[in-house]
């Protein structure tokens, strides 16, 4: 079993975010996570990414209990889990080649990591990952020179370059136009299938989820409302899932700002 959650709960700042989540994904399985904003999709993905630790219940990833491991083993486990974020966490002044290359930091010794910083290594591999998201020409570009959509795709390239066994993606195409979004989700599914990686993607667009994923998980108020094969997801079920939802305003992370005033 690639991913197994059992009665997992998560609280942040005293607030219950996830409540009794039970979820299993077999190795190589692909599923979409849907639900209204605030349902807990991002938190669930961060819980699986070992960013958060469950308050109760159990979390098993790639056959291991992450919080029982020593730090070296935890690092090894984490290096096998890739994440794509809605806002790609790329330092503004870092170059694309470094940002994508950072995907494999978990597999490198600290010394090798530092050497790469001065002297980019495996440029061909990094370029290949970028070419999959049609950004091969941005290899030497600085991240703050990219558009929001390009940044998002660089984030995807980084996760692909990591070659994880479990790939998590949180709204990975929110900043892309519909055609590119469709292509990109297809790419994620194709890549995961080629490597037999497990894929869990949260999507705001139900159409995309229905078009690409055999299994849909509906999340509402921190609980799993349904977990069904694509054919069994009815319009009525979707209407109930999204009842009263107001989509959030789109936002973009601001570029880094340099100080303007000299200190005395």
């Amino acid at each position: 079993m690639s991913l197994a959650l059992s009665e997992a709960t998560l609280s942040l700042r005293g607030q219950r975010i996830l409540d009794g989540i039970t979820l299993r994904l077999a190795q190589g399985e692909q599923a979409a996570l849907i639900g209204p904003s605030g349902a807990g999709k991002s938190s669930l993905l961060l819980l699986v990414a070992t960013q958060y630790r469950a308050a109760s219940g159990s979390v098993q990833l790639l056959g291991a209990e992450p919080w029982q491991l020593d730090s070296a083993a935890l690092r090894r486990l984490r290096s096998r889990i890739g994440s794509v974020y809605q806002h790609a966490p790329l330092p503004a002044l870092q170059r694309v080649v470094t940002a994508v290359g950072a995907g494999r930091l978990g597999q490198l010794s600290t010394l090798a990591a530092l050497r790469r910083l001065l002297w980019p290594q495996d440029v061909a591999g990094i370029r290949a990952a970028l070419e999959q998201v049609q950004l091969g020409d941005k290899l030497w570009q600085r991240c703050d020179r990219l558009s929001g959509g390009q940044r998002q795709r660089v984030g995807i390239a980084r996760a692909l370059y990591q070659q994880p066994d479990l790939l998590l993606a949180d709204e990975p195409v929110s900043a892309l136009d519909p055609r590119l979004a469709d292509d990109t989700i297809a790419l994620l599914c194709r890549q995961a299938a080629t490597r037999n990686s497990t894929l869990l993607v949260s999507l705001h667009s139900v159409e995309l989820a229905l078009a690409h994923f055999p299994r849909l998980i509906g999340l509402r108020d921190g609980q799993v409302m349904f977990d069904l094969p694509r054919s069994e997801v009815t319009p009525a079920l979707l209407a109930a899932l999204y009842a009263g939802d107001t989509p959030p305003e789109p936002d973009d992370t601001p570029a880094a700002k340099l100080p303007r005033v000299a200190p005395c």
Binding site: R78, Q107, W140, C264
Partner: protein
Amino acid sequence: MLTAKTLSARDPALAARLGWIIATPLLLLAAMYYTGFDPRLLLDADTLATLAHFAGEFFPPSHDPVFLASLWHETLTTLAVASSGTLLAMLVGLPAALLTSRALDRDVLTGEAPSRLWHWLQNSLRALMVILRGVPDLVWALLLVRAAGLGSLPAVLALGLAYGGMLGKVYAEILEAQPRAPAAALAGSGASRLAIFGYALLPQAAHELISYSVYRWECAIRASAVMGFVGAGGLGLLMDTSIRMLNGGEVGALLLVFMALVALTELISRLARHAVESRRGGLVLAAACILLQLAAFGWLGPQWQDSPFDVGGLLRFAGELLHPNLAPAFLLKVGGGMLETLAQSALGTAFAFLGGALLALPASQRGPRWLRYPVQLLLNILRGTPDLLWGAIAVLALSLGPAAGVLALALHTSGVLGRLFAHTLENLPPEPEAALRVSGASPVARLAYGLLPQALPQWIAYTLYRWENNIRIAAILGLVGAGGLGQQLYLALSLFQLGNAATLIAAMLLLSWGVEGISRWLRQRLE
């Protein structure tokens, strides 16, 4: 196709990076050689013993009643000088900004044909302000003391001139950064410059103008505390004597007072900048300012009556300054001094960058608590001790000469930068580092790939700003025997060789502009 691919496989920034990686250490090594600053000296047993011995004499701080009485007197004078000086600077800076800000120009706002004469006048005024702020405030004080006699009035005037030039520029820039539409609308209906400012720009920019002025006041306190080194009253007067006489106990007491003063003004400054945000707070702040100015004036007025200001002497002095010494032999000597000052400032700032970066991590909220507070205390001591005092102490440890100046700059600036760097770290978005953590990156790799790429550009920008400041300080460190142009200037003014002094001041201006230019260019490359 193949060639294109191999070509682009090469890092296009490689040459530039290699250039920086090789050039920076080479330049710093050259500066080290030129200033005779050997970092190993810092770990030398003799140096450390001298420092420890002198620092040991700080305790117990002097509590001689006569000394304490003059300490109290000079503390009040320092506060009063800073306050009156800031007021004067505002009175110089605000009109200058109103006259020179592009945000009020009719041709910018309405597209009318620009007036040639007016632009010429504006540019002359701008040039004047560049000179006002290019000459270090301490040098202004030294000149005024020589020209018109001792006391706190030269200190107030020096602050008024140097900070006036600075405020004029910053005020103008703040006005230019405001949305243009309201001003353009008023200008279109034929309103005057003053009316456009009062009705369109002031309401938008008031907060920023006030909080920058308050911040300048905070800077003025530090500046006025060392004015006494050139005979312009305040705590520096006592500090100068105590250091010359190597009276550790008095220096200890002075340091305590100075740090308390810095901490107090930072607190007041922070409160004041918060107060601006609320309506009531603004009124309270205004009342407090008026009271402070009245008190300052009440304290300084009688002193000024006692030692009147010699206007005739000032004019004659200014006339003598108009004949700089341009003899080749002297110019060569000044050139050497300039190079020395430049090397000192660059080296001191570079070491401070390293020191600040090392101390910032433990001083920020990332540091473990048991380490955080001691490191923060160390930063406050480094930054709370004025640079001139560090200079005097460094002279004790490393003997007279430019190396002591480098050490003084490095120590003081480490404190300033360390605090700013820690602040930067605390305000960075945490996501890049968190993402690297959950993909299994080691702590050092997280720092190198997630944290530093975000922090470094800001750190470097702060460091470059600080370098602009340090070139001015390096130019005056010679007052305490720490090399650079300052000692030559002090000698020239002591010996009434005003032609030499004029050349030296011009050299300081050149240096300060040059470094500002380099710093601006480097900062633009960062963006």
